[in-house]
């Protein structure tokens, strides 16, 4: 369920059966989920934007492209949005393909609404973790950009594990100046000690 102040998570339903689409939209809407409906994979891909977040609930057998194919097409466009595959056939090979392509769940119709909601919630949790991680990274990058050029040089040497005197020798400045720079860096990056500083730098470089 969407939390205030965040990008809303949407359930994208792709099913060729109008009754299934309509009933899912009604049921999920009443459950507090935002939904968007598509009759086939092609119209989904036309509308798709890599910035979408939430979860795709796609039927396995669609006219034209199948739900599993749609998933791999979305992946190739660089989106990690989670997929839940639903089917009225329940064939094992298709399920295997879906899981290999990292679908969150593979649900047979007719399904229990609790089962579907559990799958969607799992997908949303994954999605939320992904969004949070991305935000954290963005914040860190922003902090790093506040450092001056000299401070970046000192940080690079510190991350290599050099002491103040050694850094001073490498950069041709006095150890005292290095100490001042280091204190400023730690203030700007909001870390309390050298260990945290190194951890921060490594995390951002990733």
């Amino acid at each position: 369920m969407a939390e205030p102040g965040r990008a809303p998570l949407v359930v994208y339903v792709v099913d060729d059966d109008p009754s299934i689409r309509d009933s899912l939209a009604l049921m999920l809407g009443l459950g507090g989920y935002a939904t968007r409906l598509f009759a086939d994979a092609e119209s989904f891909l036309v509308a798709f934007d890599a910035g979408w977040s939430g979860c795709v609930v796609a039927d396995l057998r669609l006219p034209g492209m199948s739900g599993v194919e749609l998933q791999s097409r979305v992946r190739s466009r660089g989106s990690a949005i989670p997929f839940v595959i639903i089917t009225a056939h329940g064939d094992v090979p298709a399920a295997r393909t879906a899981f290999r392509a990292q679908a969150v769940d593979f649900i047979e119709k007719p399904f229990d609404d609790a089962q579907l909601r559990a799958a969607i919630d799992t997908a949303f949790a994954l999605e939320q973790r992904r969004i949070d991680a991305a935000e954290l990274r963005r914040a860190d990058v922003e902090k790093l950009s506040r450092l001056t050029l000299r401070e970046r040089e000192v940080l690079d040497q510190a991350v290599k594990g050099l002491h103040a005197k050694e850094i001073a020798a490498v950069l041709g400045i006095s150890p005292r100046t290095v100490e001042v720079h280091r204190t400023r860096i730690m203030e700007k990056l909001e870390v309390r000690n050298i260990a945290e500083l190194v951890r921060f730098a490594v995390a951002v470089e990733r």
């Binding site: 059966d17 009754s19 299934i20 309509d22 009933s23 899912l24 009604l26 049921m27 009443l30 459950g31 057998r61 009225a88 056939h89 329940g90 064939d91 047979e108 119709k109 007719p110 399904f111 229990d112 609404d113």
Partner: protein, 512 residues
């Protein structure tokens, strides 16, 4: 009762044996039954093969009797008894070996069966000939220097006699093979083939003149045609005609000395060629048939998947709307309920429509009725069954008027269900198929197993659609089986009993 039946069988066997022995007592060596054509051992072997080795004493006595009646004990009583014992023991041994290797169906259905049959007969008759001629030789009954040629003549006579006649007898005793023979008799082509064989025989023995064995090769041509076109049944009939023609030809030209042994060896070669060709043709046909059958089953699986899909779609929407209705109710948004309930009704209607369409499909559409012999339906079910499956049909059942594919599907489905139900039985699953007349117009096929059976309460429930959770989805389940039976104007019922029992009733074919 047992004794009476034994005596009755023996009373039929003995005259037949005597008749064959008398007819085939041609070109003997000395006064003994060392002739180039001995069909009577085939009778003895077939009788012991099908009826059991308990008949061996009757065979022994009959052989003595025949020697007395036809040849007036040429070697004296003691030697005749000993020689007859050698024959009876030898034939019993052949029957025993065939019984061991050809069971449960001695109908020469496969290359392997035929090869075993030929090998056992060839080896067995060598020993029998050695025993018989050896006894006569040891008793000094044979002219000096004839023991070896006598042994060869006896062997060829016996081997050809059995190879030609035993398959005929085995076929006559097998219901499936009998129906094949009857089908041959109904075909015009058969009479052309028989005519060609007869004409060729005439050419060889009379038309072309000279030594018949020089032109014998001509017979291979019609025999090859017959074996390829009509399989084993045709081959066996054709060989019997050739043998009869050769014997008649020998009689006809009895005044001249004919190389009868050579002729009989040629008959043996012809027989082996025709039998092997026939069985190969049949095996190929069966392979093609089983391929078609598996394709048919795959189609049934596809169909089951399609049906599941069609029914699951409205059910899913129905469940979703139902859940939405609950939520609206909980939220007190009663005004919006009417619309949701309208959707639910529409979806229920849609599901009902799918089921109705399905029923129509079986009632009209793809159903193609034809006249089918009951034995063929049972045979299809028997071949599809695994494990212990017995099939029995009442005599003279009329043909049924059914869609063969659909009824075979139903029978296979029932047999598979029965085997599964009885799988846990301590002594192993046993399934029995019995076909009988229910009344003047209907056939009843009972499929029973030694499983725990079905209680009265469950007897109706097992037909509820999509109850069976079998992963392989053997066919379409009992629900569709019953729909098929009813589409044929028949019924399918589960009988409450202490063992599993299903009754499938189908109408007989009735035209006019």
């Amino acid at each position: 009762m047992k004794v009476l039946r034994y005596l009755r069988d023996a009373a039929v066997f003995a005259p037949c044996y005597l008749l064959l022995d008398w007819v085939s007592y041609i070109h003997p060596l000395g006064a003994f039954n060392i002739t180039p054509w001995n069909p009577q051992p085939a009778l003895a072997i077939a009788w012991m093969l099908l009826g059991g080795l308990g008949h061996a004493p009757a065979v022994f006595l009959t052989i003595i009797l025949a020697d007395g009646v036809i040849r007036n004990f040429p070697a004296g009583y003691g030697v005749t008894a000993l020689a007859s014992l050698a024959l009876a023991a030898g034939y019993a041994a052949i029957a025993w070996a065939l019984r061991e290797h050809l069971r449960p169906h001695a109908d020469l259905r496969s290359l392997r069966q035929l090869t075993l049959f030929v090998a056992v007969v060839a080896a067995g008759t060598v020993l029998v000939a050695a025993g018989f001629v050896g006894v006569l030789h040891a008793a000094g009954a044979l002219a000096p220097g004839t023991a070896l040629s006598g042994w060869l003549r006896f062997w060829v006579g016996d081997a050809v006699g059995v190879l030609v006649t035993a398959p005929l007898l085995l076929f006559a005793s097998d219901a499936q093979r009998r129906s094949e023979l009857r089908a041959l008799a109904r075909r015009g082509e058969t009479y052309v083939q028989v005519g060609l064989v007869a004409a060729t025989l005439w050419l060889i023995f009379a038309g072309l003149g000279g030594d018949p064995s020089h032109h014998f090769y001509l017979l291979f041509l019609p025999l090859i045609w017959i074996a390829i076109r009509s399989g084993m049944a045709g081959a066996i009939i054709a060989i019997a005609i050739v043998q009869a023609g050769v014997v008649l030809g020998i009689h006809h030209r009895a005044l001249q000395t004919l190389p009868t042994i050579e002729l009989q060896a040629l008959v043996a070669a012809l027989t082996l060629t025709a039998l092997y060709l026939g069985v190969t043709v049949e095996e190929r046909e069966r392979a093609a048939e089983s391929l078609k059958e598996s394709l048919r089953l795959a189609a049934a699986g596809e169909m089951a998947g399609a049906i599941a899909h069609e029914v699951n779609q409205p059910l899913t929407a129905l469940a979703n709307y139902g859940r939405a209705g609950q939520m609206l109710l909980e939220a007190g948004r009663h005004a919006e309920l009417a619309g949701v309930i309208g959707h639910m009704l529409a979806e229920a209607q849609r599901a009902a429509e799918v089921v109705r369409r399905l029923r129509d499909l079986f009632r009209h559409g793809t159903t193609r009725l034809e006249r089918v012999p009951v034995a063929e339906l049972l045979e299809a079910a028997r071949r599809a069954g695994t494990g212990r499956l017995s099939v029995a049909a009442a005599d003279d059942l009329p043909d049924v008027w059914v869609d063969r594919l659909q009824i075979e599907l139903v029978l296979r489905n029932l047999v598979a269900n029965a085997a599964e139900a009885a799988a846990a039985h301590a002594a192993g699953a046993e399934v029995a198929l019995t076909a009988e007349r229910r009344d003047a117009r209907h056939l009843r096929i009972v499929v029973s197993d030694n499983g725990p059976g079905i209680g009265p309460a469950e007897a109706g429930r097992v037909f509820e659609p999509f109850i069976s959770g079998k992963p392989s989805g053997m066919g379409l389940g009992l629900a569709v089986s019953r729909a098929i039976a009813e589409a044929h104007g028949g019924t399918l019922e589960a009988r409450p009993a202490s063992h599993g029992e299903f009754h499938l009733v189908l109408p007989f074919h009735s035209h006019g």
